[in-house]
Symmetry: C2
Subunit: 163 residues, 2 copies
């Protein structure tokens, strides 16, 4: 079965049990989770989120520099007051450098990615601290926003707090 | 209980049942889902995704222009060959304009957001078609990548295909 049909079939099951049609737009728990896109990390399952609870922003690495637009919308228009950053062990971002990926793009796609900061990193805990510091120093993120950092272990399913 | 402690408590329950510690890094279903950060939309639940299945990229609106970095990493380094865009009804992105949010930022934060394209939209189905067209025309997204677009109805839990 084509992937899109598998998705639509799974959705028919979801919709047949759906009872959450009256949730408001602003997140009930006033939090924006910023997590890596990694397939092994499901923010809702690992944090115990239900529909309606939290904004969930995800990108390669869960990097803050790539999330400012969404965070401003979350905070200024929809009332969130906490950011929880979730990076994880065995992250793909630890396996390359921005230069090596630019080289690969040039070779595979015959185009230039020199204008893209891919935001790879070498140290997992430092990447969380760097992202907290990045947001803390941004004039677009108010000082009264609480910012926390967690690391998810893909081998054990456990989270631990970095900050 | 502080939010972060609620998350860590929920995670202890998740970790106690965790049996997926040997999943590989590349997504099993070779797909990158690009969805809105909205709290009412849980991509894993609405599409039937298990841990390990798919990259999930999320931002305000599920906008493609804000996802290129992550999509290049997903495709070039981790082998995904399909992008599924998921926007949804009652989206916050339909409720403001880039200019009105810039005005609000200036007033609330005493800083300038003129350099940020907030990517608000006025027409939901068109926003999906626009994002597909944006990716289709990007030299960084190969032509053999399948790109599909879905809309999630927050009132019914149902998805329908736009493209």
């Amino acid at each position: 079965m084509p992937l899109i049909d598998e998705f639509l079939q799974a959705n028919r099951e979801y919709a047949s049990r759906f009872q959450k049609g009256n949730l408001p737009m602003p997140p009930a728990r006033k939090v924006a989770v910023l997590a890596c896109m990694d397939a092994r990390l499901d923010p809702a399952r690992i944090l115990g989120l239900e529909e309606g609870d939290a904004h969930v922003i995800r990108n390669a690495g869960g990097r803050a520099a790539d999330a400012v637009r969404s965070l401003v919308i979350s905070e200024q228009l929809l009332g969130t007051n906490t950011i929880v950053i979730v990076h994880h062990t065995d992250c793909g971002m630890l396996t390359f450098t921005d230069d090596s990926l630019r080289e690969k793009v040039k070779k595979e796609l015959s185009t230039d990615a020199d204008h893209i900061a891919f935001l790879a990193f070498q140290d997992l805990e430092q990447s969380v601290r760097d992202d907290i510091a990045f947001l803390r120093s941004s004039p677009l993120i108010p000082q009264n926003i609480d910012i926390r950092g967690l690391i998810f272990d893909v081998k054990t399913g456990k989270l631990h707090a970095v900050a």
